[in-house]
Symmetry: C2
Subunit: 343 residues, 2 copies
């Protein structure tokens, strides 16, 4: 039915080997033979079969993006879209395609990834937001396929094939704590992401450690899981603010959750920052345009994606390990945090 290399060969009066050589720009083929073959290919509308090709050579130029959801919900966080877009641009330049897995079952994911690697379907992996229990990386480290983790991974896991690109979540959130305390806040709550991911753990821990360093009691009840969406964060914030009226500030571990806090404050008739201060994280498009503009930390999401992809490709091509990299962030002091010191 579909034209194959064999048919082309026959029509052009040459062997399959020659046709193959023409396709792969092998130098040892006479110009007239080449053009003859090319014209037959055009005439027949011949399209090479990537599968067959992959089977006899070193497979496909794909990279797998694994995006571990903490819930069964599609994450509406703009972070993921942006970062996937950035990776996509670099992939496109390198003539690679993206395969996307959004899974919330780690074992399934491991099995699928192993199968893809074994089948030479992918040449590298980008792991978005790694879990604290990192079985996935432990298993995949053994496959010698380059992996870049956008985020942190188990520090005891040493591998030539795994590299991390991240921002310093712990330090940033430690600094947020410092700032909040400096502004006179001693009753601080936190709406965070589910704690089975490093990023959430580090952000929470940074804040807590900073509070402890200033001898502020950390009330565990004031640290609540705000899920992944505005709505879940809203519910969590409502709860938090109702049951802890002494709170003067809330740290939301990303600006989507801050949106939930804004919504809760509005519905409770709490003014920001007069009645409750809010500190966010990530600095999304809308953050500066909220009322009041959200104080947050700017994460270079686009760069995170670009740099990760670049590192991945240089590992794939040069087969040498890249260095881990910590990207700089920048505090965006706007007006959602009140200074309690000057009344």
């Amino acid at each position: 039915m579909k034209p194959t290399i064999q048919l082309v060969a026959k029509k052009a009066g040459v062997s399959m080997s020659t046709v193959s050589r023409v396709m792969n720009n092998h130098p040892a083929v006479l110009p007239e033979t080449r053009s003859k073959v090319l014209s037959v290919m055009k005439e027949l509308d011949y399209i090479p079969n990537q599968l067959a090709r992959g089977l006899s050579t070193n497979g496909f130029n794909n990279i797998l993006i694994i995006f571990t959801r903490s819930s069964t919900q599609a994450a509406d966080n703009p972070y993921f879209g942006n970062i996937i877009g950035s990776i996509g641009m670099v992939a496109e330049q390198n003539d690679y395609d993206l395969i996307l897995h959004s899974n919330n079952n780690e074992d399934d994911e491991i099995e699928k990834a192993l199968s893809m690697i074994n089948s030479k379907l992918i040449k590298g992996i980008v792991l978005l937001s790694s879990r604290t229990n990192n079985k996935f990386l432990e298993v995949l480290a053994g496959t010698r396929i380059p992996i870049v983790v956008i985020g942190k991974y188990n520090p005891s896991l040493q591998s030539e094939y795994i590299v991390s690109v991240d921002t310093d979540n712990y330090q940033d959130c430690y600094d947020i704590g410092d700032y909040l305390l400096q502004m006179g806040h001693t009753h601080i709550g936190c709406i965070h992401a589910p704690l089975n991911h490093y990023v959430a753990v580090d952000r929470v821990q940074g804040l807590k450690d900073s509070m402890k360093a200033h001898h502020i009691t950390v009330d565990e009840d004031c640290f609540v899981d705000g899920g992944d969406t505005v709505d879940t964060a809203y519910m969590a914030a409502l709860n938090l603010l109702c049951s802890n009226q002494q709170l003067t500030a809330v740290f939301a571990t990303d600006d989507i959750k801050a949106l939930g806090v804004y919504k809760a404050a509005r519905n409770m008739n709490l003014r920001i920052p007069e009645d409750i201060s809010v500190f966010g994280h990530n600095d999304f498009d809308f953050s500066a345009l909220l009322t009041p503009p959200l104080t947050t930390v700017r994460v270079p999401i686009h760069e995170l994606g670009m740099i990760s992809a670049s590192k991945l490709f240089s590992m794939i091509k040069a087969e040498k390990k890249e260095a881990n990299q910590m990207l700089p962030t920048k505090m965006q002091f706007r007006s959602s945090v009140a200074n309690l010191n000057k009344p």
Copy 2:
């Protein structure tokens, strides 16, 4: 090196055919043979090669998501992330993987897609945001592969294999025009997306036609391309508002662009809605939490993704055409539009 079906067969003392049958749950294999084979497979850590498998059968269970960028910029619009996430969930349930192409060269894209189809690498396509010049669909209609377009496509293109899922952009924007006029606005500007996509064209045309129906002169200078990002929209809005001081309302064809308008208004010391009214489109997470809350039209993005994916899979599986579907939207009247009639 890697264990193949042949090695398994040898170790288990059976033929390759039998091993294959075991893997594919063929009924005609004795229980003891089956368990023998399975144990050898486990012992050898055998993983089937998807490529080889695909080559001899009907290929892969992948669907291709094509996401046509209008610029070279990664689109930061939350719309895409959300919709891809939704499609991903349905795909996961059906045991399909997602391949993502974000391309801005249509010819390249056509060639790549044809190659993937020819190689049995994909079973269906989701096209996000189709171009007005729809060469892509025209060419691909001939391949008999199911395609769902999220958005509109050339109505003259009839195909058993193409189905569209969309909202009624034209009508919604016509209604927006009506509303604006009813509120007393007669000098209306518009910040829209690049006009090489149906969605932008329809939204703009809806507004224009509504204005014309009310005998309001449409000033082409007040319809400007706001690109794809907050920043480009901001620049466009700044320009628009500076050079057309008589404007009392601006329609932004999506809420990301509305963000740009808010920013411009703020920087020009224009109050919303007192000095300038803003109507958005899409209703993103942040829209209700802006100050003032943005009047916009709620698009069921998640449903758009889910329904598209469902239709695609039923076309793939049942091989029968699904009906086009128009999803309902809902106006969200908030407070970014002033009523000029009651002062």
